[in-house]
Symmetry: C2
Subunit: 345 residues, 2 copies
DNA sequence: TTTATTTGTGCAAACGTGTGCATAGGAAAA
DNA sequence: TTTTCCTATGCACACGTTTGCACAAATAAA
């Protein structure tokens, strides 16, 4: 890599061409004769030439990199998203720069700043649950950096969005609870302001309405930090259990909340699903091994990553400014297991 | 980022200095008067100047990036490693480029090639289980790119290594099995050639020897693809179960093998731990929720990532060639749960 | 006063590519 | 034959930074 690297100038000298001719030959310019192209390409191939990406970047003002803004890497959902993004980016010649917000608005803003210094060509963003102030994101976007939202989206910027079908997923799960015989279904969910929170609640309410089950606002609990703080999950569950009419089932809205709530019920020796059934959104890898096996709604995380990356690269490479933006909604998968099955006594 | 970006030349023009003076002032060169430095820095601060990293890279031939070569991102162990690496790299001004080998030697070689084209300043490598040919790695290293191994290490290159204390972890777990009353302890492990395989087997054998338990070679099963192919795990377990004297406990050597084996026993309705106990290396996040709760040895993945990144950056930035290399061994944690407890009938 | 030294600044080249413009040589048209 | 046009190539500069060297001005030493 250090010693063996050949430059265009080296090739030019060796073949007695000018560096511009070599450059054009390698890029298949129409101005160069076939003969010359052949000679140059052969020599380049033989000497294992590869363009210096830093020089290209400097010249073209394109870094061939895309920034990824998400909550936490060791979270199965995001890890799968990353994997999906990588699979596309790799083949299109982009590399990805990952930053973690850990749900903190302040870290998110700092990360955005860093990414812009790195002059990324575009951004894939899943908002931190804390985030209310979108100004830094809007500023970057206004400066011409394309952005694609995934998972936790926002309308503060007019651009593509890639999400799971949160409404339908929540609807299917709630419906499943109802059809299994549960009537008092609680909902423990993410911070109030997130897009996913609204959508999942919408699906939940839709199912309840369809079966004429009255909505009990006491049954809906928000976790302001998205479950980053385990106590907020535990408190929510405990409040539900302490109610005069505790729910007989609980629908949890995210990976962390689902696992946290499940673990808390375990810790408190509360029978699942006898005392309370539980199921929710979760991309954890082996919920079938849980005790009892856990009913989940899986999001197509890998595909979401792929789709988001494809849309972003399209935006980056498009010549004319894009005017029509797409909201890509990918289907979820309800996997019914023991934690949501009514046990008739 | 696009519009607002100010260059050194802009500052120079605005303040009527030459660009070299500005450059030196910003880098605190002793040649520049305090007064000038103050003026330049103030202006830079005010106009939100940030150096163009691509230009710096081109000039210095340092990309300020480090390549990460690992098996799979959505594997909790590696996800935690990445997070650890990121936490260090971020603060030291490096960004990381992640590539996945999916345990394939061929993809690993391709990734290495790509990373060298990207002119990374250094590499963090955990070998794919298939890999036998180290020549491409050695070539890159010979060209002056520092490399630090983590987890799956090799002696083919003289450099730093960061590993978990595999011998002790395996020893502790095997000892725990023995002290719980198990005597026929099988070992399902990774491909024969990996460093971790040897070390974990060594700890296993050490514990057996200590308690004068004869080694049954039939009890040791290798998974040539490290469990990427689920069938090889299932076959290994089935072979153990089919033996005339089947083992009463099995020690599994990696995340994937542990989960795969556990799931297979589930599927086959084999009582854990009554018929066969199981425990192993596993960085899965919630093994206490399994049915039964799963005894694991946790590796300090996040710390391993941090340590590896620190060593690598030290290598990259060191002026004189490093001659003394370190093998950093980080302690593991045995978490005893129900899957490894002898049930007395 | 002259000479030597220090201090602060600018010039110009370099890193490796890409590209607008000029031009030499040859072919085709007049 | 002269003029026009096309083809293939080279020149020179730009991208933003860094750095060796030169040099002017100010100061210190002789």
């Amino acid at each position: 890599m250090k010693n063996e690297s050949i430059t265009i100038t080296d090739i030019a000298k060796a073949l007695n061409f000018s560096s511009s001719t070599v450059s054009r030959a390698l890029r298949d310019s129409y101005q160069i004769s076939e003969e010359t192209k052949r000679i140059v390409k052969e020599y380049a191939e033989k000497h294992n030439y590869h363009p210096n990406l830093m020089a290209q970047s400097l010249k073209s003002n394109k870094s061939k990199s895309i920034g990824l803004l998400l909550c936490s890497i060791p979270n199965n959902f995001f890890a799968e998203v990353i994997s999906g993004v990588e699979s596309i980016a790799y083949n299109r010649g982009y590399h990805i720069i990952i930053t973690q917000s850990h749900e903190s608005q302040e870290r998110e803003a700092r990360n955005l700043e860093h990414l812009s210094w790195r002059s990324v060509d575009g951004l894939l963003v899943s908002l931190a649950s804390e985030t209310k102030d979108m100004s830094s994101l809007q500023k970057i976007h206004a400066n011409g950096v394309p952005i694609v939202f995934f998972d936790r989206v926002s309308d503060c910027i007019e651009t593509h969005q890639v999400v799971a079908d949160n409404i339908d997923g929540a609807y299917q799960l709630t419906k499943h609870f109802i059809e299994s015989g549960f009537r008092s279904i609680a909902h423990v969910t993410s911070p109030y302001d997130l897009s996913i929170t609204h959508e999942r609640k919408e699906g939940y309410l839709k199912a309840l309405a369809e079966y004429d089950i009255p909505v009990n606002e006491q049954y809906i609990k928000y976790c302001p930090h998205g479950g980053m703080i385990i106590e907020e999950i535990e408190m929510a569950i405990q409040q539900l259990l302490d109610m005069e009419q505790p729910p007989d089932a609980v629908f949890t809205a995210s990976d962390r909340i689902t696992i946290g709530a499940f673990a808390y019920l375990h810790k408190k020796n509360i029978g699942i699903p006898e005392q309370i059934a539980i199921a929710g959104f979760c991309n954890f890898s082996s919920p079938e091994l849980f005790n009892p096996s856990l009913t989940t709604i899986r999001q197509p995380a890998f595909e979401m990553g792929k789709a988001a990356a494809e849309l972003l690269i399209e935006l980056i490479e498009s010549k004319k400014p894009t005017t029509h933006f797409e909201k890509k909604i990918l289907g979820t998968e309800l996997l019914v297991r023991d934690s949501s099955v009514k046990i008739v006594i």
